[in-house]
């Protein structure tokens, strides 16, 4: 097969190939961006939480407009929860995974000057209660805990960070024992890393993308006097339902008389919270999936329609080729290669277009930059679709008998 002959055919009847090229370019640009958006939405859903979700009960929205709870009351409730049958550990906490109503935000600066913003979870014994996996260092010692809100700024506050944070803040060397500082408070003694956990999902889920899913810190603080309370309770997995009932009745006994009657405490398993938290994300994912599928279908229809016409228009040319000795396979190959050529050019234009779209979207919607790796994915997808779409018209072309070449010349 001569490449020159093929190019000259495409060049002389350039309208059809141009239209296919345009379709491929547009579809490629849209698909690259949609795939990227889908990935952005899916990252928080796929990120490992690090917690023992199946065994974790979360209690929050214990609040009152008329009073707050003293440190002693908080401790009584914490100990009461620990004594319940089926309960392995319990902590009063502020900021918990999948509790989206209370956020604790910390900013850290590492020894090398890297600054990051992270979510914090505060409470006595959270490593054990959440079921976190320590990969370096140790858990907090009981004597290290300070009461939250105590501005006893003598020594650096011990913190446990995640592996992802350690890689970012302290890229070289052992994170344990290193000092981190608050970039906004130059006089503050800062924080000292005592341990590193493998994973701990942050509770600002919208920011849990691009390796920032694990930007979560535990500080050696416990809940003292508080206006609103929340608890994390780890239960025996074989006694989940019974323990949930026990925790419910305990919280009602302990707090109903002092709480606002209109907003009851929320008591549920981590898994349920996770489900509810991702509802909106899932809806968006369905939408994106629908759009991508429609783009694919419409593009395939377009390529098929055009190539069908292209084949019909060149029936006589095909007949001549067959008469001169081309086999059916050769004809099929001719159309497949032609399509490949057009689609490759379309993909090249589409990639530029995709990049341009992403630049615009980045400018207006705080989206991150489209990684280069998405472009080949979109490209390969388009190549496959193109070949698939052209297959049936090519087969039709291959069935053209050589005899047509001799007719009405």
């Amino acid at each position: 097969m001569s490449w020159r002959a093929m190019f000259s055919t495409l060049y002389r009847h350039s309208l059809m190939p141009l239209l296919v090229l345009l379709q491929v370019a547009l579809a490629c640009a849209i698909l690259c961006n949609v795939l990227f958006l889908v990935w952005q939405k899916m990252q928080p859903m796929l990120a490992p939480s690090g917690v023992a979700g199946h065994e974790l009960i979360l209690v929050d929205q214990i609040s009152s407009t008329t009073r707050s709870w003293s440190a002693a009351e908080v401790q009584t409730a914490e100990e009461g929860l620990r004594r319940l049958p089926g309960v392995r550990a319990a902590s009063a906490a502020t900021g918990l995974p999948m509790v989206l109503t209370t956020l604790m935000i910390f900013e850290f600066k590492g020894p090398s000057g890297v600054k990051i913003g992270v979510n914090g979870y505060i409470g006595d014994g959270l490593v054990k209660t959440l079921g976190l996996q320590l990969v370096a260092g140790r858990d907090f010692l009981p004597a290290e805990y300070r009461e939250y809100g105590d501005t006893n700024a003598g020594a650096p506050l011990p913190v446990i960070i995640t592996q992802a944070m350690a890689n970012q803040l302290i890229p070289d060397g052992q994170p344990v024992g290193k000092l981190l500082s608050d970039p906004n408070e130059s006089t503050d003694p800062g924080y000292r890393v005592v341990g590193v956990v493998r994973h701990l999902l942050r509770n600002q889920l919208g920011m849990a993308t691009d390796g920032k899913a694990d930007y979560t810190v535990l500080t050696a603080q416990k809940i003292g006097k508080a206006d609103g309370l929340s608890f994390a309770v780890r239960v025996d997995p074989s006694m989940r339902e019974a323990a949930l009932g026990e925790v419910r009745s305990f919280i009602h006994r302990q707090f109903d008389s002092t709480m606002d009657s209109h907003s009851p405490a929320r008591i549920s398993f981590y898994d349920e919270r996770r489900d509810a938290a991702f509802k909106s994300q899932r809806a968006a994912l369905w939408l994106f999936a629908g759009v991508s599928l429609s783009v694919v279908i419409v593009t395939v229809i377009g390529i098929m329609g055009l190539t069908g016409f292209w084949v019909q228009k060149r029936t006589r040319q095909i007949g001549i080729r067959r008469a001169l000795g081309a086999r059916r396979g050769d004809i099929i190959r001719l159309f497949l290669v032609e399509n490949l050529l057009i689609v490759v050019m379309g993909v090249a234009v589409g990639m530029l277009l995709a990049f341009g779209c992403n630049l615009l979207l980045m400018h207006y919607y705080e989206l991150p930059r489209l990684p280069w790796s998405y472009l080949p994915i979109g490209g390969v997808l388009m190549l496959l679709l193109g070949q698939l779409a052209v297959l049936s018209p090519a087969m039709r072309a291959a069935r053209v008998p050589p005899i047509v070449a001799t007719r009405s010349l």
Binding site: H262, L287, V291, S294, I297
Partner: protein, 435 residues
């Protein structure tokens, strides 16, 4: 001629049913997807106070200390007003009308024994609120300015709440128990629901339920009613809502013309200069600003970025569909070279061929538009099932309905231009020879 072309178009479309169906499907999908998102954006970014929004302004002061570090994660405390600033602006009476307000959430204890106590959302505000925003009243009216000063326990109910509590539309003069305090009903407002609820704190769910009550701000503060909006403090906060370092109030003013606007802007700068001289404000008085209502909505980014993004996605998809129609129509029209040549040989002008092809594109556009309407309804139904607070708004109004059809016809005629032009340039002699 039009009737004849229509007949020709229908015959030609019937001849190749699969291709026709594909074209109608493509335009229908494109139109359906884009109209779903356009409708959502349309209902979300509409004018909440038609005819009045041009006169409504939101002032902005900058009372934050110089060393205040604005967190990029949390809400901006500078958006709202502290009690002293809000009261200074309201009592200065420099605008046509002015009101301070804050959202609230109160427990209603009905007299009727068959109703259990329940919570309702509403606003604490000052007297000018009703006249400024043009709140329609069914019975009675808002309270007088003197009620603000006297901290009177009066309330304006929504028609829905009035009916629920008293069973009748006219509840004026009756007593309502709100958070254990009796309030006298002075007016019943028609269910008034600007979309979005522009005057609420930006952190509130601005696309959800309507306000059920309005109570004087002074009385609410007196009774220590909770505010449901965002309360930001930048020095120690002990629960004193009158503190000058706590922002929680919104202030809106009505200004009739550009001279009033300029004068008010100057007033805000003068006020800031004065406060800076007194040592209360630390930042430049020039930071004071006056936003128009629509400008404010834009500034507050009430339309979620997700919605805009999805609109662009849908429009991109429509473009793909249109290129697709161009391709399919081109294939369809050029396949009929023989027929076109015969017509040309029999005396049809190029213009006639162009018209004939145009009518055919229009028929496809109309069919695609109808399909698009169906798809858009399905799309809107799925948007309504989403867990976002704006979801229930996703309804199509008549203007959108007609717009959908027009867009579909326009899009398909636009897509038909190139194919029709190619078709009318067919050389009859060459084609006739091969027939």
């Amino acid at each position: 001629m039009f009737g004849y072309y229509l007949d020709l178009a229908l015959r030609s479309l019937k001849r190749n049913k699969v291709l026709t169906a594909l074209m109608v499907l493509a335009i229908g999908l494109g139109i359906g997807a884009s109209m779903t998102m356009v409708t959502v954006l349309h209902v979300m970014s509409g004018d909440p106070l038609p005819g009045r929004s041009g006169e409504i302004y939101y002032p902005h002061l900058d009372p934050l200390p110089l060393d205040y570090h604005k967190s990029e994660y949390g809400p901006d405390p500078g958006v709202n007003f502290s009690w002293p600033d809000a009261m200074a602006l309201v009592s200065a009476h420099r605008a046509e009308r002015q009101a301070a307000m804050a959202g609230g959430h109160l427990l209603v204890k009905p007299e009727r024994t068959d109703l259990r106590p329940f919570y309702v959302d509403g606003h604490y505000t000052t007297a000018d609120f009703f006249a400024m925003f043009g709140v329609p009243f069914v019975h009675g009216q808002g309270w007088a300015a003197s009620a603000d000063g006297a901290r009177e326990h009066v309330v304006v109910l929504s028609e829905t709440l009035g009916r629920k509590l008293f069973g009748s539309a006219d509840a004026t003069g009756r007593m309502v128990r709100l958070n254990d305090t009796d309030f006298r009903v002075v007016g019943v407002a028609a269910d008034w629901r600007p979309q979005p609820l522009f005057y609420a704190d930006a952190s509130a769910r601005v696309f959800s339920a309507a306000d059920q009550f309005f109570v004087p701000l002074s009385a609410a503060l007196d009774l220590k009613f909770d505010t449901s909006g965002n309360v930001s403090a930048w020095s120690s906060f002990d629960g004193d809502m009158k503190s000058p370092t706590v922002t929680w109030l919104q202030v809106w003013v009505q200004l009739k013309d550009s001279t009033q606007v300029a004068a008010y802007r100057q007033f805000l700068i003068d006020y800031s200069t004065n406060q800076k001289r007194l040592g209360r404000f630390e930042r430049a008085p020039g930071n004071a600003h006056l936003y128009g209502l629509m400008e404010w909505l834009d500034h507050q980014k009430l339309v979620p970025a997700d919605v805009r993004l999805q609109l662009w996605l849908a429009l991109g998809f429509l473009l793909v569909c249109m290129v697709n129609i161009v391709a399919l129509l081109l294939a369809k029209f050029l396949r009929r070279s023989g027929e076109v040549s015969v017509r040309r040989a029999l005396g049809a002008r190029r213009r006639d061929i162009f018209q004939q092809m145009g009518v055919e594109s229009m028929v496809i556009g109309l069919a695609g538009g109808v399909l698009g309407l169906v798809i858009a309804q399905v799309g809107l139904w799925s948007v309504r099932r989403r867990p976002d607070d704006y979801a229930h708004l996703a309804q199509m109004d008549p203007s959108m309905l007609i717009g959908t059809l027009l867009l579909a016809v326009f899009a398909s005629m636009l897509a038909g231009l190139l194919p029709a032009w190619r078709a009318c340039r067919i050389t009859p002699a060459l084609q006739l020879k091969t027939l």
